[in-house]
Symmetry: C2
DNA sequence: AATAAACGGAATTACTTTCTCCACTTACTT
DNA sequence: AAGTAAGTGGAGAAAGTAATTCCGTTTATT
């Protein structure tokens, strides 16, 4: 009998398996909060292991990202299909937008993957490419039924989701439902006819929203004390 | 007679004045395209002078930014005031949104300044703080007249502008008017009652939009060739 | 107890961005 | 026309930040 042709893939050691799980769990958390920009160092810290361990298990970030978000993207595709089951086509569309956005707004990593083109290729043939057609059917049906305005096209939807989730990810921490207001408004603008506007979700405290936006501002880097000191010597005018 | 108490501020040399103008012009262009993240080196290059020259004239970026955008912010405030002159309160609001956004979408720097909190303080007491009250009046009037839904608040507007301009700045180059579609949709969602939807602006070529989004993606940094090469050696699963 | 696998995390590499410095050039004196 | 102070360019110092490797130590497995 010939010896195993499979190149003797030794199973991982028990502790290595445990660590691999810890890393995946940590990556899920960290990517959800910080987005795909997160460092592998951050993930290692969160997982309670050294960076080396992360790199031994996942040769680079992209592999890790792909491993993690396959299922997230897949879920979005499933949502679109389920929405088509709904008997009322408008309700189905609304439901899809709400569900899809609630996932993208609470998971910055997911949002990044959906938008990004770098990771796109790796996931393209799996789930990501299933969302399009499903969404297309959903839209067409809602238009045929006279609910959805006929001058919107399929591509408008990812764009609107992108706009709304750009806010959602930012206010996620302090005002987690803020984005729903703007989805409601957009949907009220997308329906062909309605009498009264759909009531909006409660606007959270103004201060809270301001704080949320401030917190996410990228321009809060170096200490301002020094800057302010230099303020006046400007130059001739 | 006492000698001049003014500490003998020598006028700039002629070439220095010329360069100062060149720098301001270049900064306007570069900030508009790249946003406030632009390097002073980029500005120097665009101006055709050395970085040293830029730093001699403007001790740091913030001073330059403040010098440049004072008027931009001021213009937005003026727009809000003019909009209030309009006899129809809804039309005034629509007009303001369109005008304000068309400026913020073609000028990423302006958008950044409006959103940012770092630069906010420097401009706060000048123009930026005048926008709020003017907008408030505009909104209140449109609500009183029964046009604008009464469950939106003043703070919703900057947020909606932020969402829309986030798209606008990105597609600015290849699909400069794309944002107008979403403004139209939002406005159709903001009005209390309407029969038919307001017709949308033409959707540009799908490829074009995809290209525009791709071009702006931050994840297109290092050469992918190398990455792809490593793709398969992944690890045990 | 032997040993191969796995570990941690400091150190290296490879940027990117801000800002300084100084040898050289140029505009304004007189 | 010569002197000189003002101005210039742009290399490079300084200060990050992020990705990835390396190796002395620890640990699971036999």
């Amino acid at each position: 009998m010939p010896t195993e042709t499979v190149p003797t893939v030794r199973p991982l050691r028990a502790d290595a398996v445990r660590n691999r799980e810890k890393i995946l769990a940590a990556a899920a958390t960290v990517f959800a909060n910080r987005g795909l920009d997160a460092t592998l160092d951050e993930i290692a810290l969160e997982a309670g292991v050294g960076v080396g361990t992360v790199y031994r298990r996942f040769p680079d970030k992209e592999v890790l990202v792909a491993a993690l978000f396959e299922s997230g993207i897949d879920e979005l595709a499933t949502l679109a299909l389920s929405a088509y089951e709904s008997e009322n086509s408008w309700d189905g569309l609304v439901w899809f937008m709400q569900e899809a956005l609630s996932r993208q707004c609470t998971n910055k990593g997911l949002r990044d993957v959906v938008i990004s083109t770098t990771y796109a290729d790796q996931l393209k043939d799996s789930a990501k490419s299933r969302i399009g057609p499903a969404l297309h059917k959903l839209i067409e049906r809602a238009q045929r039924d006279g609910y959805l305005r006929t001058d919107v096209v399929e591509s408008d939807f990812p764009i609107m989701e992108m706009m709304i989730s750009s806010l959602g990810c930012v206010t996620n921490q302090l005002a987690p439902d803020l984005w729903r207001r703007y989805l409601t408004i957009m949907l009220d603008g997308l329906i062909v006819s309605r009498d009264a506007p759909t009531p909006l979700e409660q606007f959270p405290n103004d201060e809270l929203v301001a704080a949320a936006l401030r917190a996410s501002s990228r321009h809060v880097k170096r200490s301002d004390a020094l800057r302010t000191a230099l303020q006046d010597d400007c130059m001739s005018d």
